[in-house]
């Protein structure tokens, strides 16, 4: 009963934040775009049709074709899958490792805390993109390297957030009571402390995700992403750059796609933070 009331209050507040609603709509649109078109569209994203290269948008090709005659709309849709895959998995890695590391630092405290936090400070001090490039350079180009590199770069934020929440909660009565009863630390963390840190974590997820997607686009733009002919948005943007004089729309479409995804998640994240924030005490 109490949960239902909380949820309905949440939805009402959310509904009133119009930008957040727009963000949600954009995100859902992108998700649908990633899932549906590949099942519906007739073209193979890698099917070349050289004699039909750089075609302007038409009935056959709604967004035109690229320099090899590949259908742009299909490639954008498959590219959405790559972006979301990298975004979600990188964020997932950052979330998992960040929470573990952050709660360890917050709960155990003292030396462990200091060591972990200084290490994370160093990690955060590096410009994210440079660090990601270095990591991909070591691991070699490819989807997995991208996910790992971007994931690692995103760890510090999750760790800090978790640590802050754990610090707040660890001296509360029910936690002290559980410790007195001899329950192991990790059990206490899992069942009592962490569930109350969910709100800031959810918000951080919706803010890290677009950053990860942008990171994937940037690295693919630089040629460090999945090898061709994979339809990564960043790579499509880079290839279209050389053709700006002839077919500028080929650069606009992937750019617009990246823009919409990042904007959608950012608006959603901002909205969620506003709605969930006052509930934090």
């Amino acid at each position: 009963m109490q949960i239902n009331a909380e949820w309905s209050r949440f939805f009402r507040r959310f509904r009133h934040r119009h930008l957040a609603v727009i963000g949600l709509i954009l995100v859902v649109m992108v998700l649908l775009f990633a899932i549906l078109p590949p099942m519906v569209l007739p073209f193979d994203p890698n099917e070349m049709d050289i004699r039909n290269a750089m075609a302007t948008p038409s009935g056959d090709h709604w967004l035109g074709t690229d320099q090899y005659g590949r259908d742009t709309l299909t490639r954008l849709a498959y590219g959405a899958r790559i972006s979301l895959k990298v975004g979600l998995m990188a964020t997932g890695i950052a979330l998992f490792i960040g929470v573990v590391v952050g709660s360890a630092a917050g709960y155990v405290g003292q030396k462990t805390d200091t060591v972990i936090m200084r290490f994370l400070d160093a990690l955060m001090a590096f410009p994210g993109i440079l660090l990601a490039i270095a990591l991909v350079g070591v691991l070699g180009p490819g989807l997995l390297s991208l996910i790992v590199a971007i994931g690692i770069v995103s760890i510090p934020r999750f760790a800090r957030l978790t640590r802050a929440s754990v610090l707040q909660k660890k001296n509360l009565e029910y936690v002290l009571a559980a410790r007195a009863l001899g329950r192991p630390g990790w059990q206490i963390l899992l069942s009592d402390v962490l569930p109350n840190c969910l709100s800031p974590l959810i918000v951080q997820i919706t803010l890290t995700l677009p950053g990860a997607i942008l990171g994937e686009a940037a690295l693919s733009f630089l040629g460090l992403g999945t090898p061709p002919p994979a339809p990564s948005w960043g790579r499509m943007l880079n290839e279209a750059r050389g053709f700006m004089e002839i077919s500028p729309e080929q650069a606009v479409f992937p750019g617009l796609a990246i823009f919409i995804v990042v904007l959608g998640f950012n608006l959603l994240g901002d909205g969620l933070r506003d709605v969930l924030d006052p509930k934090l005490k």
């Binding site: 070349m48 290269a53 320099q67 090899y68 040629g223 090898p227 750059r241 700006m244 002839i246």
Partner: protein, 509 residues
């Protein structure tokens, strides 16, 4: 009546003088040439040149005994005439007199002997050494006469003397360690400085042995590897001439009427190739190589990369050339591919790797796509040349996409690549065929042109059958220059200094 006559005479005079002025080259000025590469040259030692750009630039400074004219014929240059003995083993050169090096000293026969001995010295590491090892000795008969004694007759000899590669240089221009950091020659321009990764500067040689040229005071060669940047630099006037205008823009540019620059598109000599590693499986199997050969649609490859401005050819020789071979071109034949794959032992297709340096990636992407249809699944790897070259020399790859250019003598074209000890043998995937080696050796000593041609026809037939690498398509040669640049011309391989043409004959209005 006299009124009209006077008007007519005045107009006639004015037009006459105007035409005279326009056609007369204007002396002086500085020209900036945009080079389509990150480094305008690989080095400044003419005997250790690699690549055409380096040749283009250093040929402004250093010259050889012979040179090319615009149709790529060999013409006398620093050697004003020569005689070849009947057995083809002795070449007597009579040198031009009163030719001075940039340091003021006159060029004499002793300098010719010095220069070639330097090329032949293994310590110099000259790429021409292998081609000129046929030289047994060089004799200085007097100040302007020098004789080359060859070990056997060698038909391509004169072509290997041409250009900056066989430059006649003064001994004093070589540093104590045997290297050249400041090239000195007899050329129309004097080397000023090379600021690596930035630019290379040359200035007019006022004492050049051909009178009246060069017109320009100074030329600066600037590196502009990025296509878009190169074209923008031309449009804004930051550079005066560029080569390698991006092919993707050719359809649009050739239709534009009010460009601020002149565009020239000509059949080019640069071509792209697909190299098989013939020393290791799976491409040590001829049938598999032939399968790939028939799987490709070369017309489509050409269209995708040159937007119709290139050409599909099966050899470098143009039809009117003496060396033109009549073999029919290979067309795509997917049925044949299937048969060959089965015969090769891969009825269900095969997975292979395809590696390429970033500049040739668009070619590789289309190759990959075409091979996929023939059930040959190629995984693409993009590696920069500095890392790819050692892999190739180690024979650690399956297929590589690369390119090559023009060779004026069939020995250069076939010997370099298909002789098992040829300097470009790794561009044929390490191909080694004793029969071909023997034929190439025969072709070098044969002096009767018709007999020579028969030998190279045999070689061509074998290569056509065993396909160690595949010729894909030819690119167009493009130049673009600001409208105030006059008199600029190139040979079909883009040479910038040749008999009667190139940058020495260019001026700015």
């Amino acid at each position: 009546m006299t009124h009209y006559l006077r008007r007519f005479l005045i107009s006639f005079f004015l037009i006459f003088w105007a035409t005279l002025i326009m056609a007369t080259p204007k002396m002086g000025g500085e020209l900036i040439y945009g080079i389509a590469s990150g480094t305008v040259t690989v080095g400044v030692d003419p005997h250790v040149i690699q690549g055409d750009r380096t040749g283009w630039i250093l040929s402004q400074v250093c010259e050889g005994l012979v040179n090319y004219d615009q149709s790529m014929n060999i013409v006398p240059w620093l050697a004003k005439s020569w005689q070849i003995s009947d057995d083809g083993k002795q070449y007597l050169f009579i040198l031009q007199e009163k030719v001075t090096f940039h340091n003021g000293r006159e060029m004499k026969a002793a300098d010719v002997k010095y220069s070639f001995e330097r090329i032949l010295d293994p310590a110099t590491a000259s790429r021409r050494r292998q081609n000129l090892e046929i030289i047994d000795s060089i004799e200085v008969l007097d100040d302007y006469t020098v004789r080359f004694n060859l070990k056997t007759s060698f038909s391509p000899f004169l072509t290997y003397l041409a250009g900056a590669y066989g430059a006649i240089i003064p001994k004093e221009s070589v540093d104590a360690d045997g290297k050249i950091t400041h090239p000195v020659g007899t050329g129309p321009f004097i080397f000023v400085e090379w600021d690596k990764n930035v630019q290379l500067t040359v200035q007019k040689n006022p004492a050049y042995w051909i009178k009246g040229v060069p017109y320009l005071d100074k030329i600066i060669f600037k590196p502009l590897p990025d296509e878009a940047v190169r074209l923008t630099a031309l449009r804004t006037g930051a550079v005066d001439i560029i080569h390698s205008v991006p092919e993707k823009l050719l359809p649009k540019l050739s239709k534009t009427k009010d460009r601020k620059f002149d565009l020239s598109i000509e059949p080019g000599v640069a071509w792209r190739m697909l190299i098989f590693n013939t020393r290791k499986p799976p491409f040590d199997n001829i049938k598999l190589r032939q399968a790939v050969n028939y799987a490709l649609d070369r017309e489509e490859l050409m269209l995708a990369n040159t937007w119709g401005f290139g050409a599909v050819k099966n050899q470098i020789w143009p039809e009117k050339s003496f060396w033109f071979m009549g073999n029919p071109p290979v067309n795509q034949d997917l049925a044949k591919v299937k048969q060959l794959l089965t015969e090769a032992g891969y009825p269900n297709g095969i997975d292979v790797s395809l590696e390429v340096k970033p500049g040739f990636l668009p070619v590789a992407e289309v190759v990959q796509n075409q091979l996929k249809k023939a059930n040959i699944r190629a995984k693409l790897g993009v590696i920069d040349w500095a890392s790819l070259k050692p892999k190739m020399l180690d024979y650690n790859y399956d297929m590589v996409v690369s390119g090559a250019g023009w060779y004026s003598d069939p020995d250069a074209r076939y010997g370099r690549f298909y002789a098992s000890d040829g300097p470009a043998n790794y561009f044929s995937g390490g191909y080694a065929n004793q029969q071909v080696d023997d034929l190439i050796a025969k072709g070098r000593v044969e002096v009767v042109p018709a007999k020579r041609k028969a030998i190279y026809q045999e070689i061509f037939n074998i290569i056509d059958e065993e396909v160690p690498h595949l010729m894909l398509f030819h690119l167009p040669m493009t130049h673009a220059q600001r409208k105030n640049v006059k008199g600029f011309s190139v040979t079909k391989q883009g040479d910038l200094a040749f008999s009667g043409g190139g940058l020495p004959y260019t001026w700015k209005e």
